[in-house]
């Protein structure tokens, strides 16, 4: 068995898929940074090559479908440990049986792909609600998040459209980068935890945070407390960055 290690970029993943495709033996795919060597397999470091990645990308678009490509992208964003190997198996399956194999909702690979993609989409939808901005200086807003999956690229458009008249930064602390919007463009940019802390230094007591807290308290129906339900919609791991909790 061989373990292909790529640099963590989407192009890197597609390059690894390109080379893995020609192998006869079972292949597993990992990010170089998160790889833990395994006794029975041989690690192979794959360097990203844009032309190879392009060929895989075009091949999927033309011979499979955009939906399939999107699924692969979601698998990549999911950062679930076996997701890259799954992506590879998924691509092989689709090329073997054509894109219609996606209809086989009882197939284990298709089911797992759907499940992971759903998790990523679910989290990006949730975070559209759970992002909490702090006003650092008038009309400049900063938020911290720590999502399970790498969802910043998926929420960028939403926030850009919604808050087009205010500067904002949405900082993924786990991955050390952020969405930055400067009233013209929204882009992804590296941002360290320390830089984030500096931004927070500017904030002073925000009266609206207090107001939102009292709003949160007073809309609760004491007669119907149901904490299990609350946690199923809003899992505890997100609470850290929610001002009302």
């Amino acid at each position: 068995m061989k373990d292909y290690l790529y640099d963590g970029s989407f192009d890197g993943l597609l390059t690894a898929v390109f080379y893995a495709y020609t192998e006869k033996e079972p292949i597993r795919l990992f990010k170089e940074t998160s790889y833990r060597p395994y006794l029975l397999s041989e690690p192979v470091v794959v360097k990203t090559e844009m032309d190879k990645s392009d060929r895989v990308y075009q091949g999927i678009c033309s011979r499979l479908s955009h939906t399939t490509l999107t699924n692969i992208y979601y698998l990549y964003l999911s950062e679930i440990p076996d997701s890259e190997t799954l992506a590879f198996e998924y691509i092989k399956l689709c090329f073997k049986y054509t894109d219609t194999i996606n209809l086989a909702k009882n197939n284990d690979i298709i089911r797992t792909v759907d499940k992971y993609a759903k998790r990523v989409l679910m989290e990006s939808h949730r975070l559209k609600g759970f992002v909490r901005f702090k006003e650092v200086t008038p009309l400049v807003f900063y938020a911290q998040i720590e999502p399970d999956h790498d969802i910043l690229p998926l929420i960028l458009g939403h926030f850009k459209k919604r808050f087009s008249d205010q500067h904002f930064i949405i900082h993924d602390l786990k991955r050390g980068y952020a969405i930055v919007y400067d009233l013209k463009e929204a882009y992804l940019h590296d941002l360290s935890i320390e830089q984030g802390e500096k931004l927070l230094h500017f904030t002073e007591g925000d009266p609206f945070e207090e107001l939102f807290k009292s709003f949160y308290k007073s809309v609760t129906l004491e007669e119907r407390i149901n904490d299990r339900q609350r946690r199923s919609y809003m899992p505890k791991r997100y609470w850290k960055h929610l001002v009302e909790l």
């Binding site: 086989a104 807003f141 129906l221 149901n226 904490d227 609350r230 919609y233």
Partner: protein
């Protein structure tokens, strides 16, 4: 009075209005605008009771000239009264919005001076938000029963959704508990909003510049258990509202007594399981192609709370079953207990490639615990008992009689004995945990 205290009073007073939806609207916005609406709706937080917080839900004021028996704000109650100024509402909305706390504003009010004055003030606030502040977020506005046609016409130009709460499902109940409101006053604005919506939609087809009118549609709320109205008449009313006025949602709210009074029932235990079953029944009307007349008979005008409404229906119509998974059309699959919209879609998708086997069904999300009695798979019946009403009813009946448990006049005694960990749960929570078929997000939608 401090803003904080006002907010506490006036959001606390609005909390029994259960609707929270921010979905279904469309309103274009361009760069430089503040705000957008999301077609699927977004929850920004969840209350400890598990409801979605999507909108800044407040009353403009809790002063009221009326005296509806069930309402905490009724004239005869001795409570602290407060009122926001228009600026305060605008300020709160914009600042909460910019911090991404909310999708927008839900503005309701007690009736002060008279219905027209109230409606006019509400209308002027949303106009201010839209015109002066250029706010493009979601606005849900209450239409005040009895307000003039012109005021409602105008307010609808700025709102994404409007609602008039019917609250009481029948004329008699209304007379008894809300003597100041006439049925006519409630249905007139509803009718008017719905015909305005149609009118504007038609116009927009011809002239692109026609303004939007309540693009997110209307909703209403019914109180469950404050009056003797049965489930049949409640869902028949909902069906009428969906058919005739094209309502987007009807919300149901188990009656929680905040007042006492001659005409009010002495409820010790809000009928939340019944509320849950009504939401499920409502779901059947809107997404599963059922009609209210199919779900009930004159002799059985209430759901048996022990079963979900679809199982109820299936048990009473066993002649329609079993259904063959591999060739039944989509709309018949939807009628099988344990098969939801999503699993029905997966079935029709997967069987295009190859006939499905029984173990496949579990992978497709079918709840076999219920579905097994109503289907065949490759012509084989897999139920643990014969296809016989009594036998199936027997295996599906929960050990605890949920009808007893939901009896509004009995205090819950079930968990009095310190026999299980459930003792730690508040009764309301415990009660809903007993329902096996808890679908996601019924009362609070995502």
């Amino acid at each position: 009075m401090e803003l904080q205290e006002k907010l506490e009073i006036l959001s606390g007073a609005a909390k029994y209005d259960v609707s929270c939806s921010s979905s279904g609207s469309k309103r274009s916005s361009k760069t430089g605008d503040l705000g957008s609406v999301s077609t699927s709706g977004i929850c920004h937080s969840f209350t400890p009771d598990g409801r979605c917080i999507s909108l800044l839900k407040i009353l403009l004021t809790n002063y009221c000239i009326y005296d509806c028996a069930y309402c905490a704000n009724r004239r005869s109650n001795d409570i602290t009264r407060a009122a926001f100024s228009a600026e305060e509402v605008v300020d709160l909305t914009i600042n909460f919005y910019r911090r991404n706390y909310i999708e927008g504003l839900f503005l309701s009010s007690g009736v002060f001076k008279n219905p027209n004055h109230t409606m006019e003030t509400l209308g002027s606030i949303v106009k201010k938000l839209r015109i002066e502040q250029g706010f493009k977020g979601y606005i849900h506005l209450k239409a005040i029963p009895g307000a003039s046609q012109e005021l409602i016409d105008e307010a609808g130009l700025y709102a994404d959704r409007m609602s008039v709460n019917i609250e009481l499902p029948s004329d008699e109940s209304l007379k008894l508990l809300a003597p100041d409101k006439k049925k006519q006053d409630i249905f007139a604005p509803m009718k008017q909003i719905s015909s305005n919506i149609v009118l504007h939609q038609e116009e927009r087809k011809k002239y692109k510049r026609t303004p939007l009118y309540v693009p997110g549609g209307q909703s209403t709320q019914l109180i469950i258990g404050a009056t003797p109205d049965n489930d049949f008449s409640i869902l028949t009313l909902s069906q009428k509202l969906y058919d005739k006025y094209d309502l987007k949602r009807v919300y149901y709210s188990a009656y929680v007594p905040v007042n006492t009074g001659a005409h009010l029932p002495e409820i010790k235990n809000p009928p939340t399981l019944r509320e849950h079953r009504l939401y499920q029944g409502d779901w059947l009307l809107r997404f599963y192609g059922f009609r209210a007349e199919e779900l009930f008979t004159e002799e059985r005008p209430n759901f048996d709370i022990n079963f979900d409404p679809k199982t109820n229906w299936a048990l009473n119509h066993l002649g329609h079953f079993p259904i063959e998974i591999n060739d039944a059309p989509f709309n018949l699959l939807l009628r099988v207990p344990g098969i939801g919209v999503r699993s029905a879609q997966k079935i029709t998708s997967a069987r295009r490639l190859a006939p499905l086997s029984y173990p496949d069904l579990k992978k497709l999300g079918v709840v076999l615990k219920r579905a097994q009695y109503f289907i065949t798979c490759r012509s084989k019946y897999h139920g643990s008992v014969d296809l016989d009403e009594d036998k199936i009813r027997h295996v599906l009946t929960p050990k605890l009689d949920l009808n007893e448990l939901d009896n509004p006049y009995e205090q819950l005694t079930l968990f009095d004995k310190p026999s299980s960990s459930q003792l730690l749960l508040p009764p309301m929570h415990a009660k809903l945990l007993l329902v096996e078929d808890r679908p996601t997000a019924l009362t609070g939608e995502i």
